[in-house]
């Protein structure tokens, strides 16, 4: 096969960009049909208990209100594949914010007023929503998210730690975090001739289609789910969400199309969050900084209805050589909303702690933190013993240090000042696994020489259309403009979600195989193509069935410079620089945007974001965008993202690793380490707001 150099890696402009800058790209709530009803959910206002009565007469009397669905009258669902989708099926309130009614009305105004007029009575039970390190409900689950064993041990980490001449024993605390994509979760559902069509704001419409089929008890071929344009997800749209079930249920019940967009304030309870974690890291090392013991213990929460365990100890199984290691997750099921994926689940939270601890060790030893990491580079993956398919962490660190100007750094804390500002720099490593799932794709050659490729990929902002066209074009040896790409509909060949930084690998492998197969078919064909063209449909079941005998991960290094206002304790990032080794970069323009975007989310994690569980009410206090501080433009300095050319033959036909999440992974630790360098204060709790800094300032 000929990988056309002009296609792969080129900075192609994103295909749907023009639609997005002109406002013609339509999102899930922008397919309003005539006769459409607007939905508005009524969230539970108690932390836990049962609904004892719902009076809907007041709501039904509101002009324009058409129907109110509650557990008393809502259509029955089959048992959904995810308990969070079992809405309006019974009287239980597993957490505050759980939908207890859905109002359907002829206008948004009436729907909102109707929802305000639904009167709900509850029998409350005592609630338990606060995670503590000694919570009596803590247990060790079988697995953490991603199918990772909850506990892994090598050697005797505790004895090795006790015997180590240099020891770091530190506990890091992360509050919950919320994804808050700019587009709130929304669905528009329509029934026509026994077929359900749902426009859903989702990271994978095949999964939504399958979930709806299970919940509604329908054949999959009677459902089409479309996610043409998606206003971000960051994991929160990676699993089907209640709005899709509610809209579909309501559309079937009323016979009207139904549009349901979640109000921003309701999202914190319904669409997942990064669970809070208490993380104890113990590092034992010799005087040269060579690690003898690494232990990373996670305490986190899940909800009562679903076990989701943030796999924060998993990166410690990958990062550094050490003969003794212990990595463990413990979890308590509380009366809280169900946690879920948020950009780099596990890696982002775990690497904050591990990379902060590495910095603490460097400071304790007086060894440069870049050098410390170089001294602990493993030859094989520490946990599995497998060889790495490629691992260029040390090159990322060295290249980053060079570009950042690290060698000039005075390691003494609180040594650089500019007016009232204390300046500091910090570094942290990053890692993210290479994941891939089975996908199917079709490729078609038309008599006019053009091609059409179909795969149910989802473009949540990654530029999936564009890069898939580049992959197809490179195989077909044709300009990308000659390839039409169809994505974003469950009627297309089945494909996994845009998640786990695996979309391009999964979809791209299928597209590559389809295009390769098509090239072969075309070579076999003689004479002009038939009017309908020649097409193939393939899947990658075979290729993805067995685990390769390699540890496959992307690596990166993050460098940060911060300025801490010595008067107010306000921390601002001045520079962020990331260097990544992530296989082959398939589109330098959109890849750079994703790396930078990931770093911005890491900046938010470090400095501005956090959700507080209200002990009395059982909800997250920061439920809107005025109080949950997503970084603003003024928070974000010039950010540089670079990458190393990596030629890894053990990945996929494109030679790529995922890039969507690694930018987030080490950023918070790099910033925290820079704050320590600037001030001398080692803060072990994010976010780094003035209240945390003030006690340490002159």
């Amino acid at each position: 096969m000929s990988d056309s150099p002009r296609a792969l890696g080129a900075p192609a402009v994103r295909r749907e960009g023009r639609d997005k800058v002109t406002g013609t790209a339509r999102y899930a709530a922008e397919h309003t049909a005539p006769g459409c009803l607007y939905g508005w959910i009524v969230p539970a206002t108690v932390p836990t208990g049962r609904v004892t009565a719902i009076r809907t007469a007041g709501a039904l009397a509101v002009p324009g209100v058409h129907t109110v669905l509650t557990h008393d009258n809502a259509p029955r669902l089959k048992e959904p594949d995810d308990p969070i989708l079992a809405v309006l099926q019974d009287d239980r309130v597993p957490h505050r914010g759980w939908p207890v009614a859905l109002v359907l009305a002829e206008s948004l105004e009436s729907a909102r007023a109707g929802a305000d007029a639904v009167y709900v009575e509850y029998a409350t039970t005592e609630h338990d929503v606060v995670l503590t390190g000694d919570h009596p409900g803590l247990y060790t689950p079988k697995e953490a998210n991603g199918g990772h064993p909850a506990l892994r041990e090598r050697g005797d980490a505790m004895s090795a730690f006790d015997a180590a001449p240099v020891r770091i024993d530190a506990t890091y605390t992360l509050r919950g975090l919320h994804n808050h994509p700019m587009e709130p979760h929304a669905s528009t559902a329509r029934w026509a001739d026994g077929h359900l069509t749902v426009h859903d704001s989702s990271q994978g419409s095949t999964a939504v289609r399958n979930s709806l089929a299970t919940a509604l008890g329908l054949d999959r071929d009677r459902i089409t789910v479309i996610s043409e344009h998606v206003g971000g997800g960051f994991g929160s749209k990676g699993t089907p969400r209640p709005q899709a079930v509610l809209a579909a249920m309501a559309a079937r019940h009323t016979g009207h199309p139904v549009q349901l967009a979640l109000p921003r304030r309701y999202m914190a309870a319904i669409v997942g969050h990064r669970a809070p974690t208490l993380q104890r890291v113990r590092l034992g090392a010799d005087r040269d900084g060579v690690l003898s013991s690494v232990s990373h213990e996670i305490v986190t929460h899940t909800s009562r209805i679903k076990e989701f365990v943030e796999q924060a100890a998993v990166p410690a199984r990958v990062m550094y050589a050490s003969p003794h290691s212990r990595t463990e997750h413990r979890v308590a099921a509380l009366d809280v909303p169900s946690p879920s994926w948020m950009r780099a689940p596990g890696e982002a939270s775990g690497m904050y702690a591990l990379e902060s601890a590495m910095d603490e060790l460097a400071c304790a030893l007086g060894i440069d933190p870049v050098e410390l990491r170089l001294r602990n580079e493993p030859r094989t993956e520490p946990d599995s013993g497998l060889p790495f398919s490629s691992r260029n962490l040390t090159a990322c660190l060295s290249e980053g240090a060079r570009r950042f100007g690290w060698s000039d750094r005075d390691p003494r804390p609180a040594a650089r000042q500019e007016g009232p500002r204390l300046l500091g720099t910090g570094v942290a490593s990053a890692t993210y696994p290479v994941l891939v799932s089975k996908a199917a794709a079709s490729a078609q050659a038309a008599p006019d020489g053009s091609y059409r490729v179909g795969v149910n990929a989802t473009d949540i902002g990654t530029g999936a259309r564009t890069v898939l066209a580049q992959i197809a074009a490179s195989v077909l040896d044709t300009p990308p403009d000659n390839v039409t790409i169809d994505i974003g509909s469950s009627d297309l060949p089945t494909a996994p979600v845009a998640g786990g930084s695996s979309g391009t690998a999964s979809w791209g492998s299928a597209v590559h195989k389809a295009a390769t197969t098509l090239v072969r078919r075309l070579a076999e064909h003689s004479g002009p193509l038939p009017p309908e063209g020649i097409g193939v449909t393939v899947d990658t079941g075979e290729e993805t069935a067995q685990e390769p005998p390699y540890a496959r991960h992307a690596f990166g290094a993050h460098f940060a410079e911060v300025a801490v206002d010595s008067l107010t304790g306000e921390v601002r990032v001045r520079r962020l620089l990331g260097v990544y080794a992530a296989g082959r970069i398939l589109n330098s323009r959109t890849a750079r945007s994703q790396f930078i975007g990931g770093m911005v989310m890491g900046l938010g994690m470090a400095l501005t974001e956090g959700s507080t569980m209200d002990p009395a009410f059982g909800d997250f206090t920061e439920s809107d965008l005025a109080s949950y501080h997503v970084p603003s433009c003024a928070d974000v300095p010039d950010i540089q993202a670079h990458w190393l050319d990596e030629d890894d033959p053990h990945l996929n036909p494109m030679g790529s690793k995922g890039i969507g999440e690694i930018g987030t992974v080490g950023t918070a630790a790099a910033i925290g380490n820079a704050v320590r360098h600037a001030t001398g204060a080692r803060l072990r709790e994010l976010s780094l707001t003035p209240d945390k800094l003030l006690p340490y300032l002159p």
């Binding site: 206002t45 002009p63 105004e109 909102r112 007023a113 305000d116 009232p420 206002d565 008067l567 107010t568 304790g569 306000e570 601002r572 501005t608 507080t612 209200d614 002990p615 009395a616 009410f617 206090t621 920061e622 439920s623 809107d624 005025a626 109080s627 501080h629 970084p631 603003s632 433009c633 003024a634 928070d635 976010s687 707001t689 003035p690 209240d691 003030l694 006690p695």
Partner: protein, 331 residues
């Protein structure tokens, strides 16, 4: 949101008459806070009286060199006004430190003064709040209150006033003109906002049916310099954790004119009278500043999680006084 009637009166007196005749009505200026609160169900007016097109959008110098600011002057226009920038820079700085470009283009001077607290319990109608429903309780006292009051709060309410502009106006000795059914009256900005006491549902001393028609700045004092400084969790587009507005002039190495107000600490802009009294005539040293500010903040009664605000306010105030002293010396 309940349905409501809408009225757009042509004159102030018509507006005031309409307000007096319809209990439960609200005046609509820019609406940036009112419409927000209506969506939350916190405000439920049956009638909106749109005053945004009344002829109250002028800014004119007064005979004595002050400035009359119409109630419907937009925050962005006020911040950009050359007279304000050159003679009352703290006001311009305060406005520009608040909200966003879009919101400042919409929000009015009068509306800004009537902004309601951003206490999360006040904004959530599913929870008790004495400010919304007197007697229902104050969950903030034991709950999430990191951003709430450290000064002047009561058993019933620990809310803070969110305005930046009002803090500058308090330090600048501005007055508010109110037109009501019983006539016109003028109130000092420092007296306009209340402390919560046992009736926190009243944010201000405004009476039913009264409309803010203008804000008047007294003439700038000769030789005085001023500033507004705000600390926040995000670099922009965030409410103050604490802020300070200060006006200072120095004569013979001693503080002459001094005016100091805090934002983000209390139910109203907190004019620091105790500190001012100690500072007037004092030497312009860091120690003197610290003593005065500490005396003011001795009244602070921080809650479990917001003690940092006292330290933050202290640092902001001392920093502001030091900076203004340097500037005063160079003018």
């Amino acid at each position: 949101m309940k349905p409501f009637a809408y009225l757009r009166p042509a004159t102030v007196s018509e507006a005031v008459r309409a307000g007096a005749g319809h209990p439960g009505s609200r005046f609509l200026g820019g609406g940036t806070n009112l419409v927000d609160l209506m969506k939350l169900g916190v405000e439920t007016p049956g009638l909106l009286i749109d005053v945004s097109r009344l002829p109250l959008d002028g800014m004119t110098r007064t005979d004595d060199g002050g400035l009359r600011i119409g109630a419907t002057v937009r925050n962005s226009d006020l911040a950009a006004h050359p007279e304000v920038r050159n003679h009352w820079p703290a006001l311009s700085q305060a406005l520009l430190a608040g909200a966003s470009g879009q919101l400042r283009n919409t929000a009015t001077t009068g509306g800004n003064l009537l902004q309601r607290t951003r206490c999360p319990y006040f904004q959530d109608v599913s929870k008790p709040c004495n400010k919304r429903i007197p007697g229902s309780g104050c969950p903030a006292r034991e709950g999430t209150h990191r951003d709430l009051a450290v000064l002047g709060h009561s058993q019933d309410c620990v809310a803070t006033n969110p305005s930046d502009m009002a803090v500058a106006l308090a330090a600048l000795d501005a007055t508010v003109q109110l037109h009501g059914p019983e006539g016109v009256r003028t109130v000092q900005v420092t007296d306009f906002h209340r402390l919560p006491a046992d009736n926190p549902d009243q944010d201000t001393v405004i009476r039913p049916g009264e409309l803010i028609t203008e804000v008047v700045l007294p003439p700038p004092s000769a030789g005085a310099v001023s500033l507004y400084r705000k600390a926040r969790d995000r670099a922009s587009y965030a409410f103050a954790l604490a802020s300070v507005a200060a006006v200072l002039s120095v004569r013979d190495g001693r503080v002459d004119r001094i005016s100091l107000a805090f934002g983000g600490l209390a139910h109203r802009p907190w004019r620091a009278r105790v500190a001012e009294d100690l500072l007037r005539g004092a030497s312009t040293t860091g120690d003197a500043f610290a003593r005065a500010v500490d005396a003011e903040l001795a009244a602070a009664r921080p809650l479990r999680d917001n003690g940092f605000k006292v330290d933050l306010a202290r640092r902001l105030a001392i920093g502001a006084l030091v900076e203004l002293t340097t500037r005063a010396a160079s003018t």
